[in-house]
Subunit: 455 residues, 2 copies
């Protein structure tokens, strides 16, 4: 496109009763788009710390990074909140396959998070393909017993909002090993929960039913899953799985990182904004959820930079252990309950550092309506969707225990499940403007909630 | 983010009077998201043809590619429409700078499109920095005469809709050489029209005022422009520009590529959907505008694949020479006028292959209202903005000559000016889902226009 002047939503005149809010929205956006430090903070987290599974040395380093960033952002108080976390260890892993009596070929695969591996020994068995649990249930017993079951369920690309596709298919990742073990299978391979037109395998949480044997589970990227499908259409395929994966018996000490700005009118009423600091042990955890961490810190920095004096206390929280335990979120809620804190609102940003499109609202209808009064103010920032009922995983416990209303930043979802839980979730796949715009929208929303005492 | 079920706009019940349209919208989206070929077509264009400036051998190859794709899409008729185009040649180019009597250092730079170079000879002169035309106008004559002027105007990142930033600053690229030459400057360097947090220089069209000497113009990426700024703050800087750039005197034969599906009720009324086939001579022209070409072709493919029988004739047009002449758009309009064709509507997609957010409407208020009646149908596909008055450059001539109402696909604009006109505008920077979703929205809009006889 060459250049022509375009009149945009940005130029819409807003109802004059919101004129002052509109000015503040612009001030917040300008501050973050022009002077935001979240992108540089993310670069440091991704490149100097890297991926950071709960309990790992990198997670400890990330805690230090978070503490430093919170101080630099100008928080009035910064502290660490203890949370003991599980530590899952991947170690070495490999998946090989062969057709008939042919030679083994190495596949690019990732064990799913929390799996027990093969104890480092090779596990060889014939591969049996099913597309769904319906097909699996229809298999005769001898087609399951002693076999490695390949659950070849494709991420449905027809859902426009990709989280619907994830919700639809993730059970194959989460539950398949125990379902297969119940009938005597010895291992599970899945097609990754991936929208990618590529071959990155996606790790992610899985769960064992303790009643059955804990068999290993590995994921293939879309291209490799296509290959395996192709080989199986031609004849018998044998797989050899080998991995050191295991869940350590002892918990490890870790922390949520918290920074806050004290409220001027209601210092004892808290608005929380957070993302999670841990990631899976691949890639750089850039979109999941480095982006949410640096955006939450940016909220504090922007409030200080433009001299906003929020009525409520605003707290940025980098939660530990979202991916495989939620111990940080639980510790936060437990502490709040024990201290009889009043939590007015909690907001999570954990859906990638992409262009914001909406704000999810998990609260009463009356509360939703209070927010929606202001929705046209957000249009100039690309935010129009207030229909999704969603906060976020880390703030789930505070909702359950203190009945805190929740909100969640809803970015564009098209690219998230291309990179989610992969070696491709790196800094380079976060755009600086998209990331900053998300932080701006979070700050605008918090400004509204505080200024108009919405909760 | 782990996984939770999310209720989305996709689940909104639509006013029942639009129930049939809603079903067709879903059918179109499913067809393209699941079976679309536009991403693969783009891969071939980018990787097998590459960049394709008007008049180049690559542009001729792109015409063949387009013709083949149109046929594969199932168009009823496919033809080439002649358009003679200018041919601008870059050749070798270099920009070196030195501080004081130091050694020359090579900068990563690109000559702007249409510039006359230095005839291959070195052009050495002192560099003078200005941030704006105001500062330039305030310079004394001896600070301009014989100098290379560095117009160091930054792309304004505070505009949320980046096309506003482009509109704001592009004059420095377009007009500076003649403005500087008028006062005796010998060359121009600009900071690229770039939102990028990187060092890619951006080329793009410039224009000489024939009254003044045609002096060369080169662009620096943001990091290099920062360096030059830094050097100039410390002392005298000399630049050495050298380039073979020139506009060939003779025009070259080229073509628009056209494919159409004949209308069932109004075969003589035409709805055009198009992008431009030419690109600048860098990168792969992936977002600008390979994306628009493959989306336009996808519209035809999807219509055929789902068995839609449009009332109007639907024409996909790959326009030649949008970047530096608009000869394809003019040839299209001239032909339409000469043949007394009736053009009901023309739609352009030339703002990158990003997630769709709106449809620009450049038409009468009555016509806009006819479209906006249906706007809620688009919400589930992420399209909510019908406020922008914009069609596109290639369809400008048909609007002027035949008064055809125009529309334009408005994708998310955050990333466009990171890659626009750079070596970084490559296939890898187009996301398959975002590209397809844009094609789906175009097809839905064309379905509506045709089915409801809106124009």
């Amino acid at each position: 496109m060459k250049f022509r002047f375009l009149s945009a939503l940005a130029l819409l005149t807003v109802n004059t009763s919101f004129a002052q809010d509109s000015v503040m929205f612009r001030k917040i956006s300008d501050e973050i788009m022009l002077h935001g430090t979240c992108y540089e903070n993310l670069r440091v987290l991704c490149k100097n710390v890297g991926n950071r599974i709960s309990g790992s040395p990198a997670a400890a380093k990330a805690v230090q990074w978070g503490e430093k960033c919170m101080k630099e952002a100008g928080a009035d108080h910064v502290w660490l909140q203890a949370a003991d976390v599980p530590y899952w260890y991947r170690g070495k892993e490999s998946l090989m396959i062969k057709m008939g009596n042919g030679a083994y070929k190495k596949m690019t695969a990732l064990s799913l998070g929390n799996t027990e591996g093969t104890g480092g020994k090779p596990l060889e068995a014939q591969v049996v393909l099913v597309h769904s649990y319906e097909e699996f249930n229809a298999l005769p017993d001898d087609a399951v017993k002693g076999k490695i079951i390949f659950f070849d369920y494709r991420f449905r690309q027809d859902f426009v909002f990709t989280f619907q596709g994830y919700g639809d298919g993730v059970k194959y990742r989460w539950a398949s090993p125990s379902i297969a073990a119940k009938r005597g299978a010895v291992g599970v391979i899945i097609r990754s929960m991936s929208t990618g037109a590529d071959d990155f395998p996606h790790t992610g949480g899985m769960h064992y039913n303790d009643s059955f044997k804990k068999i290993p589970e590995m994921a293939l990227g879309n291209y490799s899953a296509d290959s395996l499908e192709h080989y199986l259409a031609k004849g018998t395929v044998t797989a050899k799985m080998q991995s050191d994966c295991h869940m350590n018996e002892e918990k490890r000490h870790s922390y949520n990182v918290i920074g806050e700005i004290t409220g001027t009118k209601y210092p004892d009423s808290i608005i929380t904004v957070g993302g999670h600091l841990d990631s899976w042990d691949v890639g750089e955890g850039a979109n999941d959820d480095g982006a949410g961490c640096v955006q939450s810190i940016e909220v504090l920095r922007a409030i200080k930079a433009i001299g906003l004096k929020p009525k409520y206390t605003i707290r940025a929280v980098l939660f530990m252990n979202e991916e495989n335990g939620l111990k940080g979120g639980e510790a936060y809620a437990d502490s709040a309950k024990a201290k009889h804190e009043h939590h007015a609102l909690a907001i999570e940003t954990d859906a990638g550092g992409f262009s914001p499109r909406g704000i999810g609202l998990e609260m009463s209808e009356v509360q939703k309506e209070k927010v929606r009064v202001f929705k046209n103010l957000f249009l100039a920032y690309g935010v129009y969707d207030f229909s999704i009922e969603e906060g976020g995983a880390d703030i789930g416990p505070i909702h359950k225990k203190l009945n805190t209303p929740l909100a969640g930043l809803i970015p564009d979802s098209q690219r998230y499940f291309d990179v989610h839980h992969t070696n491709n979730d790196v800094f380079e796949n976060v755009n600086h403007r998209e990331l900053k715009l998300g932080a701006a929208v979070l700050t605008q929303f918090i400004y509204l909630a505080s200024e108009h005492e919405l909760f």
